[in-house]
């Protein structure tokens, strides 16, 4: 089985993001960038399937500026076999990403595609579903467990009431939730090895995809700050405040 995994370069999850003063976007200058945490989980799952003898090849794909090569090298260090960067300076929205990925999929013909369920920058939670739709494939979103069967996979999904298991036919798209696995730490020798793994660079035009944004961001601003309240000394005072001041119990 061949697995394709999509990885996104995002502002590191520990960074406190701030809106630019002119409201045109968020500050990304001199900010630490990392692989989207959900995508790390996606790569990890692919590598585990390969280690279990269920996958032959893992192709990591990233889309965006040239620096996404760093993200791809991380994916390669985690265990992906080769990387593809679809390079563009245009702001890529989920529909454009899904179309570009579909074009890559048409070339690569994977049996399974794993993506993070959402990116922690735009919090859209769309790309995997859109890609599955464009391909006409089944989708197993918000996965906390994957079991490969004959021609289909069982995906256990995190839903609002608990867990749900569905069986989907291959080829298919799976998006990872937090509990699918715990990604490994990358070891130095693997980082060195990753530098030698193949990494191809493509342009959207070569893939014949129009990536023009469909949504225009008019402004970006920080929400009103919540003011810190007071400290209370005892549980009795807390209960009294909740009852007689806040009137919530």
């Amino acid at each position: 089985m061949k697995i394709l995994v999509a990885v996104k370069r995002v502002v590191d999850y520990n960074v406190k993001v701030r809106a630019k003063a002119d409201g045109s976007g968020v500050e990304t200058a001199n900010v630490k960038m990392s692989m989207n945490p959900f995508d790390e989980i996606a790569i990890e799952e692919a590598v585990r399937l390969q280690e279990a003898g269920k996958a032959k090849e893992i192709v990591a794909v990233s889309l965006g500026v040239a620096a996404c090569q760093d993200t791809l090298r991380t994916a390669l260090a985690m265990g992906a076999d080769r990387g593809i960067l679809v390079e563009t300076d245009v702001e890529l929205q989920p529909l454009a990403v899904a179309k570009l990925l579909k074009a890559v999929v048409d070339q690569e013909q994977p049996d399974l595609i794993i993506l993070g369920k959402q990116a922690i920058d735009d919090d859209a939670n769309q790309t995997g579903q859109m890609l599955a739709a464009l391909l006409g494939w089944a989708q197993g979103t918000f996965a906390s467990r994957i079991e490969i069967g004959a021609g289909e996979i069982n995906v256990t999904r995190e839903v609002d009431g608990g867990l749900e298991t569905i069986a989907i036919k291959l080829p298919a798209v799976v998006t990872s939730d937090l509990r699918l696995n715990e990604p490994r730490f990358v070891k130095l020798p693997n980082i060195m090895k990753a530098k030698k793994k193949p990494l191809a660079v493509l342009k959207p035009a070569e893939l014949g995809v129009d990536v023009a944004p469909r949504l225009v961001t008019l402004k970006v601003q920080e929400p009103p700050k919540r003011q810190a309240g007071i400290k209370v000394d005892t549980v009795a005072i807390l209960v009294d405040k909740l009852r007689n001041e806040a009137h919530v119990i």
């Binding site: 999850y13 959402q118 939670n125 599955a132 929400p223 810190a228």
Partner: protein
Amino acid sequence: MSILVIAEHDNAVLKAATLNTITAAAQLGSDITILVAGQGCGAVAEAAAQVIGVKKVLVADAPHYANQLAENVAALVVSLAGSYSHILAPATAAGKNTLPRVAALLDVAQISDVIKVESVNTFVRPIYAGNVLATVQSKDGIKVMTVRGTAFPAATATGGFATVEAVAAVADAGVSRFVSQQLTQSNRPELTAARIIISGGRGMGNGDNFKLLEEVADKLNAAVGASRAAVDAGFVPNDYQVGQTGKVVAPDLYIAVGISGAIQHLAGMKDSKVIVAINKDEEAPIFQVADYGLVADLFVAIPELSRELDQLKAAG
């Protein structure tokens, strides 16, 4: 403007999130249609027809809609989409699963997690775990969007008289099937609908200790939630998680117990009316958003809170 709202339901009950989405729809226009796709979902359609503001209810009743499989529901929505300017669904697990599929098939963008309707094509949505709000304008012919329930009040559930109409099912895509589900059984209110929530974090130590919170929850008719750390540690099931990637809640009272307050958790609860933080670490970031903070060992404070609530009840 003609607006289609995808109903969230379990074939028996219309879920509350649909009512919040209908309020968002009403801010776009008055021609509101609800789509109920399911199996044996007549009671849901009847309930939807009574919601104030709804003009028409479309019912697609077929076995392959029973479990809301995205491939089948999306194909149905796309078959109806031509008549609408907007297609809305609640930003729940089901809505997030299905609606991007609809958007891609219609070749339009999706606007996720809308918290404010500025105009028929301009919306506000949180990005970066709610640390920043983006105002976005859609250039597409059909606006496809998921709606964050906590940002819109619920529409009135009864008193309306919408017409109910059956629509033809689209053939089963045949690529996916439901196998099983393990739903958390609880007599407490649902997290996203509860007036009071008490949540535990890593500080709870283990799953057994959540009984302390459950005891307090039962006295307040509250729901029990958790931080990601507590879910990852296996203390409680995934559906307890409040935060950027879990559930977003905005109750009247949110009590955070042994939760440090990572931005990813704050993203899911900072719009609560009143926030209480109980944590033994006085430097915990949760205190920066709490209306009332108590620096205390939760294993002392929570049993005491339970006793205080008993006294309150006894005193009437």
